[in-house]
Amino acid sequence: MSVDEKTVRRIAHLARIAVTDEEVPHLQGELNAILAFVEQLGEVNVDGVEPMTSVTPMVMKKREDVVTDGGYPDKIVMNAPVTEDHFFVVPKVVE
């Protein structure tokens, strides 16, 4: 399978990465090289094979559904580019 320029732009948008017109052909070439490389997986017979979902067979541990952490909003927002009164600030999303 290979991707065309339109698909490259669509993937970039899905991945929320802005791409310039000059970048698109270059990215297209690189993505197609990788897709060509993984194409050989098609020759493996995977009938009846379960997908691997965990490296070590184990039951996922669960804990009590209680609050165990928190109460330090200063720390939570200390690395944010824009904040106001312990809130993260983003461009307006609702008209």
């Binding site: 490389f37 493996v44 995977v46 490296v55 996922m60 804990r63 200390m78 690395n79």
Partner: protein, 493 residues
Amino acid sequence: MTDLLDLTLTDARDGLKARDFSATELAKAHLDAMEKARSLNAYVLETPERALAMAAESDARIARGEARPLEGIPLGVKDLFCTEGVRTTACSRILDDFVPPYESTVTAQLWRDGAVMLGKLNNDEFAMGSSNETSAFGPVVNPWRRKGSNAALVPGGSSGGSAAAVAARLCLGATATDTGGSIRQPAAFTGTVGIKPTYGRCSRWGTVAFASSLDQAGPIAKTVRDCAVLLASMSGHDPKDTTSVDVPVPDFEAAVTRGVKGLRIGIPKEYRVEGMPAEIEALWQKGAEWLKAAGAEIVDVSLPHTKYALPAYYIVAPAEASSNLARYDGVRYGLRVPGRDIVEMYENTRAAGFGREVKRRVMIGTYVLSAGYYDAYYLRAQKIRTLIKRDFETVYCGGVDAILTPATPSAAFGLAEMATASPVEMYLNDVFTVTVNMAGLPGISVPAGLDSQGLPLGLQLIGRPFDEETLFAAGQVIEEAAGRLTPPETWWA
């Protein structure tokens, strides 16, 4: 005080205990060496004040007779581990000046045991790379050079700063992470020892995530024994990581001298890849002979799905990366580049903050997970992963204790030498190491000799799940038989 730099971690531990020198002297010797070695670009942040404060505390504890297992041992930390109050970037512009308000479990355990932090080490951006050339801080220079040449070589990646710092004697050991070979390949390129433990042995909590089902922390150090000591401190169950496994941590150091008598070591024929340099083939042969001479039985084994591990990895790892890296959106931390609306703000931020290799992998991952392609790519790759794991299980069920392979298909290459290569050519560096991550197994890389140009080459041992002890025992046999490499001259200082 150059001699302090030549000590192994365990020598230094003994010297501190005997009060031959202080933790402060040991830290200062390394801090001075780091300052003189800035041209190698191994450290992206030096933390001398923190180091001297921790060393002073160690000296006080030693004086009181309350030394902890790693008391006063100066270490470097890969910049993928969050360190409380100390800038952590994953060597990406997108994390900007991120200062974690918490400490990763792995580093917290090292400090709990008395180790001293010298600084943060360079790596490929988000650990995506095999040469440390994708770092936002620029490449690391390998302390090793070809005989009679001044050409700068790469240290391998992604833990290139960790490996170069250990090889250049800028720390006694370093933390590292390995998603497809990022501990073992740089260790092989720099004549150092590196172990990726079994998936789940070390907590991933507080380590910047790349591909969560493959990422695993481990040490890089000067000797097999040093790695055993560090891994013991880094390991153990952590309730904060649900994939961390609740099994006891064995006495790894005790396993180092166990020997290999009676062990069966497998040689997988599928690792004899086309175009493999004769020197590597010969070294592999020599490794098998050393183990045999030490009492192991060498048997031929087959891992038929080996060739599919790398292509399957390049579906699984980018898919998980595209999901993990979705968090870098310019809202909660790191870089933010404005846009007309929120989507444009996301797109501009991620375009400016991610480097080329990261963008490439996030886009591949996005594509293979997108509607209509999930079954053809991701699901198929995960099924192939089951087959790769099954190959190993069959061999181990047949009575094989560990598997011996080359660590890398070549010695270290030149800086920028791969600049015009396709991404896939760079990916081939991990052809011998990536199977181990796909199956979740432990793997160690041990220096085994020099090539005709005087560059280090490594051998890899792959173990059964949670049997790092056999790797330390067999690794020690190789280290003793090969003889420890004479470290490179300090041409950079």
